[in-house]
């Protein structure tokens, strides 16, 4: 597509429920990244995929967080047993190779109540 697409744009979930966030990167972009941004804060790195290589999961805050990227394209970020501190905007970005500028999606605003 023309840009990075994320869905849903907003998600309200009850504490303890699992959620799945989807990212559809720009076609041909080999690198895909997940970040989260809490209200008024900077961007926190979560996970990075590059081509068919094993993902870099060094930023995932706990084992409740996982992500996969199928066929080198669409990615899903899963948060199990959500907690209130998981509330944030989850941003996906893609780039054409590494060390290039990112194109961000519009994000998914997650609210855990």
């Amino acid at each position: 597509g023309a840009g990075v697409s994320q869905s849903p744009s907003n998600k309200v979930t009850e504490k303890g429920k699992d959620v799945e966030l989807r990212c559809d990167p720009i076609s041909g972009h080999t690198a895909l990244y997940w970040y989260r941004q809490s209200l008024g804060q900077g961007l926190e790195f979560l996970i990075y995929f590059q081509g068919n290589s094993a993902p870099d999961k060094s930023g995932l805050p706990s084992d409740r967080f996982s992500a996969e990227r199928t066929g080198g394209s669409v990615s899903t970020l899963t948060i199990q047993r959500t907690q209130q501190e998981d509330s944030a905007v989850y941003l996906c970005a893609s780039s054409h190779g590494t060390l290039r500028g990112y194109t961000f999606g519009s994000g998914t605003r997650l609210t855990v109540v």
Partner: protein, 112 residues
């Protein structure tokens, strides 16, 4: 990973005044990127600097990379209300290798 300090945290200027935000690292950087995030929006890539002492211009925006590649600045000449937003610098995450660490950003407010 590599951390960057970004200052100031906030800046409020009158339209037409200049604005500068600074990004400082304790270690030498291979490159640095700058992003702009409008209120309610997502970060948008502005530029990447790679060379020591590099200066790049985009209309009223001037980006500099220090000689020692440990600091960078973004200068906006004669601000306009359309410049409102948060400006982030981002540097390679040494742990990840390829992902970026973002500074906390400088929020710019421009009043007409």
């Amino acid at each position: 990973g590599q951390q960057v300090m970004q200052i100031p945290q906030y800046q409020h200027v009158q339209e037409g005044e200049d604005f500068t935000t600074y990004c400082n690292s304790s270690t030498t950087l291979s490159n640095i990127q700058w992003y702009k995030q409008r209120p309610g929006g997502h970060p948008v890539f502005l530029i990447q600097l790679v060379k020591s002492g590099e200066v790049k211009k985009q209309k009223r925006l001037t980006f500099q990379f220090g000689e020692a590649k440990k600091n960078s600045s973004l200068h906006i000449t004669a601000t306009q209300t359309t410049d409102v937003g948060t400006y982030f610098c981002a540097v390679p995450n040494s742990n990840s290798g390829y992902a970026l660490n973002f500074g906390k950003g400088t929020s710019l407010l421009v009043t007409p």
